[in-house]
Amino acid sequence: MDTIIHTQDLTKRYGSQTAVDRLNLEVARGEIFGFLGPNGAGKTTTFLMLLGLSEPTSGSARVCGFDPTREALKVKRVVGYLPENVGFYDDMTAVDNLRFVAHLNGIRDGALAGKIDAVLDRVGLLAEARKRVGAYSRGMRQRLGIAEVLMKEPQVVFLDEPTIGLDPDGTQKMLEMVRLLSRERGITVFFSSHQLDQVQRICDRVGIMLQGHLVGVGSMDDLAKRKLGVDQAQYSLEEIYMKYFQEGVAAATETTGQAGR
């Protein structure tokens, strides 16, 4: 397996609170990896550490062979990041927004115009390319975010809740785009989501985070076998997830109970 993201005992503490606790994770090149977990489980924190935007308290990480803490610039050159609720300069047009980001990435003006049109066409925004982004709907903004990531031609993309707040149609389009990203261009996709049925549909493997711990990782079948004891066919990710979740909550109450004693 050609590993593109690798973390070893990656830990982040905020004061006494541990956001991510000794995370050991491997993501292979070209796969779609789904990152599941309730709010506040440490998914975004993990993304930020992998991007070098936040410094880990201890442990180490490698993204495309680079250390995000020490070689942040090299990591940022090959990683595209779509944050939850991506922001744009609202008083600029979509094209201007993309051009600015392209300049920041050192893409030269010569090839730029064609490239911007190509990515906007790819996400279906070419008709609205000259509109101010302030007038965009949520789904359009999200798609523009994907266009921005595409323009960088990254090896890995981090998508933080890309489907949150989208209508069913928008969600459908977004997922289709994510899948194509991976299949057509061989880009590794690492994305977090709550919407389990969608994750199930497009992910090769999933990891489940609970309160900073990675409690389960593997393909859907693996997890189903491990947790539900069923062979195939009749399970949904939701069941697996809930199983993990309930176990996690039970374990947590146990430990707090012990601490109280």
């Binding site: 975004t44 930020l48 991007l51 935007l53 936040s54 610039l73 090299k74 940022k76 050159r77 990683v79 990041y81 944050p83 939850e84 609720n85 991506v86 922001g87 744009f88 300069y89 609202d90 600015f100 980001v101 300049h103 920041l104 990435n105 050192g106 921005e148 933080d160």
Partner: protein, 320 residues
Amino acid sequence: MHGLFVMYRKELEDHFSSTRFILLLTVILMVSLVTTYMVGTGLRKELEGFAKPSLVFLLLFTSTGALFSLAQFIAFFGPLIGMILGFDAISRERASRTLSKLLSQPIYRDAVINGKFLAGLTIISLMLLSIVLLISGMGLWVLGVVPGWEEVGRLAVYLVISIVYIGFWLAVSILCSILFRGLATSALASLALWIFLAFFMALGASLAADVFSPIPPGRSSDPETILNHEQTRETVASFSPITLYSQAATTILDPTRNTTRSLILMGPMERLSLSRFQNPLPLLQSTLIVMPYLISLVAVTVVCFAICYAFFMRQEVRST
């Protein structure tokens, strides 16, 4: 370097197309032109019948007409210009959620604040330069006096000092926008600092002088005591960039002032020598007097920027 240039260009574009810049420029131009006209016509009346006094052109900037002199106006309004240009530098990016995107691009973090600062500084320089040129042009027309090299040189030094001074306030407001999350909070914080330095520093300075080198009741005419008292007061006061600036600006614009000290103890000999040598200082000498002030101003700005770096480099960047 590359990221810095891209940021700089974008910020500059933003400034030029913003309503805020246009309003600011309009207000400043309006005040400057009206004041110059009033001062200019006043000067012309006063100087009627006199041979051309030396360095009359600088009087355009320093003499108070009906309201205030231009130098006073810039000293008062300059900090506000700096603050208006910088108060939302980082907090606006944060509010529109573009900061995390910006920082996940392959540029150094300091390119973001450097680009913003340099763009602001460019705007300030352009504004001041255009004001001084406009006023000079109008002065030519109203006074009918052509400025000599000496005067042009003094104006240039004055311009540099003013740019550095307003640059300091720009740095302060950028710092506030890094430290505070809300737009209004950051604007108010820099405003508070300005009010403190402008109004309470002088008060604090005389208080400090009273405490550290008091003038005992019976010895109010003892020169040494008074001198000590004054020195303490000036030392404390010069911690404020406002004091630094006003001292430097008045010294460079008024060539007959040959020291920045406000109190000179004079015996009969000194008085004699003063009245005999009441001649304007050459430009080089004035510049020498002003230099320490200019350097202090630059130093304060650099310190302010260093604090910006220290905070911004470590700040957590979250998208939500």
